[in-house]
């Protein structure tokens, strides 16, 4: 059967590329950039292969590496259990789409490019691991792996104006760590309880989900996980790391962080918190919805007041994560499908946005909107990429972001009524800040100061072409994404609803 460890290979490809780069001489810049591109390219290819080879009709965990979980720490129930289902696959694909394009977005970085590539590759592996690990312990392990490269990358390659990049790096890291501290407490309590209840030590999500934890216990633990995953997902009021962090980070980190890393929060909420603790989820759902709605409106309004492009997209991403929370809080198939799809869609959009902003910054050395203007006259392709990302951000139908938003609206409007309307009204504010930023950055009279500005060319076109195509294809054929997600959420939500039927109300 499918015993070849495809997923482990995908995880190792960037690591091996990083190892090769370590031993390459510093001057061979082209060479190790190509190596990085090949490493991430292999992972991207594997994730595409696995995505389209996944049998949706059967569903469940497939492409299990080595055909079974490999025991690792038996006493703690830790196994090397790498497998994917409809929930992990879109995010795995997303990680590699962004990882691959992030290499090209950093193509022209001149400051210590070697170290940048190495850290970037490690970061990609770390993020990827969280989405394919089916064991809680391994999931957390990969999550912690992510923190280290991020800190170094922001401190060395970052840039910021409002706050120092050291502050941004510290804030980002500490938030990640505090989030994981909450998670760790929750996980340990959960594991101890699970051993007490079931008598066996097993840290796989599936096994944990089979255990009926008492309702009070679920509510406490869910709260811990919510703070942990929520701050990672930039849930209001634990969001303030996000704009500062993205503004401080170099392009590749902003792309990966906004694109996929914060999605670990949303993924963790559904894969772990909601799946294992349905009664806890049910208790907290209305609160999550409220925080989500506040996040949408509050961050959209804050984005409106921004003058720095990266801050704008940073707040915008907080706002979009509010939609994800709202979708999850509906605790129904439509809303959860929408939330997962929205994470994918937002990832593609945000990373394209950050790539384009990175290119603008590289060329003009400013991200301050009033200093920019008329760029489309010199760099039409850059402008097209910027506007494409912007249109996706404001949820233009026909692009990948629209149907996820629509399904979230549908589910949350049905469950939460008029509360959801506040979030839906966010589409107006979003249009306002996106179009203003686009107009003031790209259009208007040509600014002679930017004369001779280079348009995107060569490797720089990769992010635009790859991510842009995904935005359009996913918009025209949303079922490519939704059928996949639905194959996982439909059974999960059935199981959760069954638990809710028994467990109380």
């Amino acid at each position: 059967m499918m015993t070849f460890p495809f997923l482990t290979t995908a995880l190792l490809a960037p690591v091996i590329a990083a190892l090769i780069i370590v031993f390459l001489p510093k001057e061979k810049v082209k060479f190790y950039k190509t190596t990085a591109a090949i490493g991430t390219g292999i992972s991207l290819f594997i994730s595409l292969y696995v995505y389209f080879g996944y049998d949706q009709a059967t569903g469940g965990l497939q492409w299990v590496d080595f055909g079974r979980p490999i025991p690792w720490i038996a006493d703690l129930g830790v196994t090397w259990h790498m497998a994917v289902d409809g929930l992990s696959l879109p995010l795995l694909l997303l990680t590699n789409l962004i990882g691959f394009t992030a290499v090209f977005a950093s193509w022209n970085v001149s400051k210590r490019p070697k170290e940048l590539m190495i850290l970037l590759l490690l970061l990609i592996t770390g993020v990827m691991g969280t989405f394919v690990a089916q064991n809680l312990f391994i999931f957390l392990l990969f999550y912690e792996v992510v923190v280290i490269p991020i800190y170094i990358m922001v401190v060395i390659w970052g840039s910021s104006k409002r706050v120092t990049k050291e502050y941004a790096a510290m804030k980002l890291t500490i938030y990640l760590l505090i989030g994981s501290a909450f998670l760790l407490v929750g996980v340990i309590a959960l594991f101890v309880k699970s051993v007490a209840l079931s008598g066996t030590a097993d840290m796989s999500f599936e096994a944990l989900a089979q255990i009926d934890f008492p309702e009070q216990f679920q509510i406490y633990i869910f709260a811990l996980l919510l703070v942990g995953f929520g701050s990672l997902l930039s849930m209001w009021p634990f969001h303030s790391w996000s704009p500062d962090g993205y503004a401080g980070a170099p392009t590749a980190v902003s792309m990966i962080h906004a694109g996929v890393l914060k999605k670990i929060g949303g993924y963790g909420l559904i894969r772990f918190a909601i799946y294992v603790l349905p009664l806890g989820a049910n208790f907290w759902a209305p609160y999550i919805a409220v925080l989500g709605v506040i996040g949408v409106a509050y961050a959209a309004m804050s984005a409106l007041a921004q003058k720095d492009l990266k801050y704008l997209v940073g707040y915008s991403s907080v706002s979009h994560m509010g939609y994800v929370l709202l979708g999850l809080a509906s605790l129904g198939v439509i809303g959860v499908n929408g939330a997962v799809a929205a994470m994918f869609a937002h990832g593609v959009m945000a990373s394209l946005f950050f790539a384009m902003i990175g290119f603008i910054y590289e060329r003009t050395h400013t991200r301050y909107i009033p200093d920019l203007g008329g760029l489309s006259h010199y760099a039409p392709r850059l402008a097209a990429g910027f506007m494409l990302a912007g249109m996706a951000s404001l949820g233009l139908p026909g692009l990948v972001t629209f149907i996820p938003e629509f399904t979230i609206f549908l589910a949350s409007f049905e469950v939460f009524g008029w509360l959801a309307v506040v979030a839906i009204a966010g589409i107006i504010i979003t249009a306002l800040y996106i179009l203003r930023a686009g107009a003031n950055t790209l259009f208007g009279p040509a600014n002679p100061q930017f004369k001779g500005l280079q348009d995107l060319k060569g490797p720089e076109m990769v992010p635009l072409v790859v991510l842009g195509s995904v935005l359009v294809i996913g918009g025209i054929m949303p079922s490519l994404l939704f059928d996949m997600i639905d194959s996982a959420t439909a059974p999960i939500m059935t199981q959760i609803n069954a638990a809710l039927q028994i467990g109380g109300r």
Binding site: S240, A305, V333, L396, P397, I427, A439, F443
Partner: protein, 644 residues
Amino acid sequence: MIEFALNYAWLVPLLPVLSFLTIVFLTRPWARLSSAVAIGAMLGSFLLASSLAWGVFTNPAFIEEPLHYSLRWLGMEGFTVNAGILIDPASAMMLFMVSLVALLVQIYSTGYMKGDPHYSLFFAYLSLFAASMLGLVISSNLLQMFIFWELVGLCSYLLIGFYTYKVSAREAAKKAFITTRIGDFGMLLGILFLQIQFNTLDLLELAAVIPNFAQLGVSLGLLTLIAILFFLGPVAKSGQFPLHVWLPDAMEGPTPVSALIHAATMVVAGVYLVGRMLFLFVEVPGSLTVVAFIGAFTALFAATIAVTQREIKRILAYSTVSQLGYMMLALGVGSLSASLFHLWTHAFFKALMFLAAGSVLHALHNKADVWEMGGLIRKMPITGWTFVVGGLAIAGIPPFAGFWSKDEILLVTWEYARHGHALGYLFFAFAALTAFLTAFYIWRLIFLVFFGPEKANDHVHESPLSMTLPLLVLAVLSGVAGLIGTPWTNLWSTWIHFGDAHSGEPAYLLMLLSVVLALAGIGLAFILYCKDQDKQAARSLAKKYPALYNLSYRKYYIDEAYTWFTRKIVDGGAKVIYLFDIYLVDGVVNGLAALTKGSGQGLKYLQTGKLQTYALIFFLAVLVLTVAFNLDSANALAHLGGVK
């Protein structure tokens, strides 16, 4: 061919998509090739649409039984979307009209846009627009329609802002997008409500279930709310009060765009959509009254603005707003037939007038003030005389197209009033007054621009054939397009109607009234702007009533009010929230960090490594402990190591 067209109707929107892709990815460097691709694809769409329309209109079966096929596009438990095609006389008419006008406008653009550095891109955008508009027209599902609805909005945005170096164009494009988005927000809520309450968005299925709303547990109040929320989308898209503000500004786009998108096709999408959803509106009479009122009010309101405007395209834009009001009014009084009839004739005569205005602007190098023009008809006879045809059509002079459709609207409004709707008389009065004002402002424009003494414009000459040919075709259509809906042989209303086909006696008195109003308007314009060579009377009128004049000229200060709201309330609110974020939310975060850091700072003195300090602390601690536990001295000394 007809059979083929009916079976492959999806090719009609697909052909322009292909030309869009071809131009963007292949032929962009070669301008003329790009326009040839676009026009070729559009011609293909037009031929298909024509045979399709012929097939539909010659076969009465389509009137009762629309052609409908669809495919699963998206599905999950509780939410399925089947995208597909719905062909009935209304959509067949729209396909024909849209592809025809798009074709003519593209031919015109080969002349008008000649030499523009982004010539290819312009044709790519026009193709994308045509594709989205045609897709909107034949959609069988509301969500599918909404997608195309937003895509035409996107094309409108791109084309209004086509001259990207102009700040005014950039701002107008943004304004158009955001204003229509406000409407779309309401419409989206309406669509969500429909999906939640009726569990389908398929137009035919909705038409079947909505009449039974009471059995499905939907209250009349809720259904009214749904209809009114839904109506917000068309209000914005079709430039109805109070979301009309974007349409006049949209004239910043190249003139062919104004003709195609902001006169003939996209702006009527709102009317078409309400027509498509009339089965919803008729269930809740309250919502129909809202539609009628907004329509009648907009018609009059925009006409009163048009009478004082000075820019040639702005006058036409307010005229469009006003005419769209007519169409909404007709829907509001329940007549799909009259509304779409006016939509049909208006498309031709308004596209004609815009293209003719474009021809004038082309000749005058974009000097747009009508007061600075004059006598152009001698230099530009084709442009001038075709504009006159358009002027006769919109004013409502028989047998030109506008007369029949406007008369039909007046008639249905009158009948609506007679059937016990007291408000109907008000609507009728609005509509009649608008008819008078329409004739007046259009002929004011015509007399100022084309007649009277020539102004200093020596180099003015007639536009090339590529531009005049579409004008001639549209002039012919503006002449005859109304003849299929005369009261004597009303083919139109047998094809396109909602409920029973309208078949009244010809109302001669009403026709007379309509003609008298039109002639009065033209006559007044003649007296003020043609006979009176130096326009003393007109100027002194403006001087005599400055408040009224300014109210109209400044468009009732609505733009100013909206700008104030956006700047002060929205942006102000944004600033407040942002400050809250960095000082309060982040303040707490930084405060916690400072607390941690501060306590670390303080505590670090406990580990200085200096022995003396440790000894001191040790001694002090003993002292404190001694006092605290109130031990007697002997015992305390014993505890301190047995020293006695």
